[in-house]
């Protein structure tokens, strides 16, 4: 054990026991970030802030929420909204932050795809990021159910029913997940557990791993130039700050991030105060009724593209039931992003999309297709709409099937 001497102050006292100075150096002041990155790289920090907002507001809501099918609806819509002072604020912040989190996650994700930040040593960052996406999806879904409104109830009914697609044991699995033959009290209480304890814990752990995995390959940059972090950071430390291509995370990089966060939070609070309803479905202000389905069911906006892939296949193809095709497509849509680093077969090219000859079309086609899926996911699945959904779903799957070939072809072009 190191020798403990009389401390010269509080920091020194802590430093001798917890090595706080070394910790700060590694985590903050000597964690190097490239200079040539734009505001899109600030989305990670925005997400951290949003997660903090969700956590704090969630704790406040938890004090009055009652996980019981007879009490849940009123505990939210009456107690929290009317009685608890500022209860409305926490609820709207929680709801809007949940929606905003997905908006930022999508921006974060597409930034990564655009700049090729998922490959060349950065695979683990990408994979842990996608695990986070799935964990957040589960968290959002389990939370959506808690107010026990009509839409919550039927969303839970439909989503849990998806598991009946598992061969042989499907129907039993559904009953097992619900703890009842239909979505009922047992379902509510277990989803409550998932939403407030288990999933947040998982998310926190995966966030830590996500950050950790970022340390080794370092942050990608706008032009994806490769440079020697050791040499560049040495320049910076030697006082040659202009020449150096990197800046320390704290205080230089974060100061810029804080600006983006500040800008974002302004919009966020405008939404919370004036347009909170964008994150709330009117049907969810009707108490759940297990004997009546709303005329038209759809999930929150951030799951629409996924939902449209699920229901896009509405007729049987070659002896395969429409439902099974839809389910398989749905499962593929959920995992296909995870394996993106391995589908992109151009090993050299980490350039941003606009510098890649074919990939850029692929990227924008994907974005457009997902927007189409999202829009049509909200429309009733009848007549023309069903066909648009079908075509968009096929294109979505086709894009990922085509990716290895496209990128392989691109790689050949690069060699010449």
């Amino acid at each position: 054990m190191a020798e403990i001497r009389k401390s010269e102050g509080f920091i020194d006292w802590l430093d001798q026991r917890l090595a706080v100075k070394a910790f700060m150096r590694v985590m903050m002041t000597e964690y190097w970030i490239p200079k040539n990155i734009n505001f899109l790289w600030a989305m990670g920090v925005v997400l951290v802030i949003l997660f903090g907002v969700l956590l704090v507001t969630g704790l406040l809501l938890l004090m009055y929420y009652k996980p019981d099918i007879n009490l849940a609806f009123d505990s939210v819509n009456y107690t929290i909204m009317q009685e608890v002072e500022y209860g409305w604020l926490w609820r709207h912040m929680h709801g809007v932050a949940a929606s905003a989190t997905f908006l930022i996650i999508y921006i974060h994700l597409f930034t990564g795809i655009y700049y090729g930040s998922y490959k060349k040593g950065r695979e683990m960052i990408w994979i842990t990021g996608m695990v986070l996406f799935i964990a957040f999806s589960a968290e959002a879904f389990s939370g959506y159910m808690l107010p026990w409104g009509q839409m919550s109830y039927w969303a839970a009914q439909v989503i849990t029913n998806l598991f009946s697609g598992i061969p042989v044991i499907g129907d039993d699995v559904v009953i097992w997940i619900r703890g009842d033959y239909v979505v009922a009290d047992a379902t509510l209480t277990r989803f409550f557990m998932l939403h407030v304890v288990l999933l947040p814990l998982v998310i926190i752990v995966v966030i830590a791993v996500h950050f950790y995995s970022l340390r080794f390959p370092h942050v990608n940059n706008q032009d994806s130039v490769e440079f020697d972090f050791d040499a560049e950071s040495k320049k910076f430390l030697d006082g040659d700050k202009k020449e150096s291509k990197v800046v320390p995370f704290w205080p230089v990089f974060l100061s810029k991030d804080f600006f983006v966060v500040g800008f974002f939070m302004t919009i966020f609070f405008a939404l919370v105060c004036y347009h909170f309803d964008f994150a709330m479905d009117p049907i969810n202000f009707e108490p759940a009724n297990s004997m009546k389905t709303p005329a038209h069911i759809y999930p929150e906006w951030y799951f629409l593209w996924n939902y449209e892939v699920l229901r896009g296949f509405f007729f049987d193809i070659g002896g395969m039931a429409a439902m099974d095709i839809g389910l398989i497509a749905f499962v593929i849509a959920n995992i296909v992003f995870m394996i993106l680093p391995f589908l992109d077969r151009n090993p050299m090219n980490t350039a941003p999309a606009h510098k890649r000859p074919i990939f850029k079309y692929w990227f924008w086609l994907l974005v457009c297709d997902m927007i189409v899926l999202t829009v049509y996911g909200k429309l009733p699945p009848t007549g023309m709409n069903a066909w648009v959904g079908f075509v968009a779903a096929v294109i979505f799957l086709g894009l990922f099937i085509a990716l290895p070939f496209i990128t392989k072809h691109e790689a050949k072009g690069d060699e010449q």
């Binding site: 009914q157 703890g179 033959y181 439902m323 699945p381």
Partner: protein
């Protein structure tokens, strides 16, 4: 030294074994905790009176938390010997009112003589057979027993067994 190493290996293996057995048992217990409670499983039998249902009218009842549709077919509604429940002169369709696709509740459209599921556009005919959209199979028939003009839901009566047998 060698004996010492062996002893350590043994302790290591014993510890692994005990942990593995304990872990498997714990997982089993956890799985069981998620199973429906006995009070849910025995959600019992429900008796419903269907004598007052008019021709062409569909009524819904609740059994085990699920909606049960009873439709009394009118003269011009297509019959289906494999699925009809006949009580005297009256012919009924008796099904669990949950779409076999993802479990929404379809509603009966008397004009089109079909059950329409709004969720993903599934359509079932008056006998509960899927005719359009994603539902993979006809609406399920709940176990029932006929006594006079009332149905006992949850009990497997003669009529029910016959219907199920016909399907096979």
């Amino acid at each position: 030294m060698a004996t010492c190493q062996k002893r350590r290996d043994f302790i290591g293996m014993a510890l692994t074994g005990v942990t593995a057995v304990g872990g498997v048992c714990a997982l089993g217990a956890m799985k069981k905790s998620w199973d429906p409670l006995p009070s849910v499983q025995s959600a019992g039998f429900v008796t419903v009176d269907i004598s007052t249902i008019q021709e062409g009218e569909a009524r819904s009842f609740q059994w085990r938390g699920k909606p049960i549709f009873v439709l009394r077919k009118s003269a011009d509604t297509p019959k289906n010997a494999k699925r009809d429940v006949v009580i005297g002169e009256k012919i009924f369709t008796l099904v669990i009112g949950l779409c076999t696709h993802l479990g929404c509740i379809p509603s009966y459209d008397a004009k089109k003589k079909s059950f329409i599921c709004a969720c993903h556009g599934g359509v079932f005919d008056a006998s509960g057979i899927n005719t359009f959209g994603p539902p993979p199979r006809p609406l399920d028939i709940p176990p029932f027993k006929i006594s006079g003009e009332t149905l006992v839901l949850g009990e497997e009566g003669e009529e029910y067994k016959k219907l199920i047998a016909k399907k096979a």
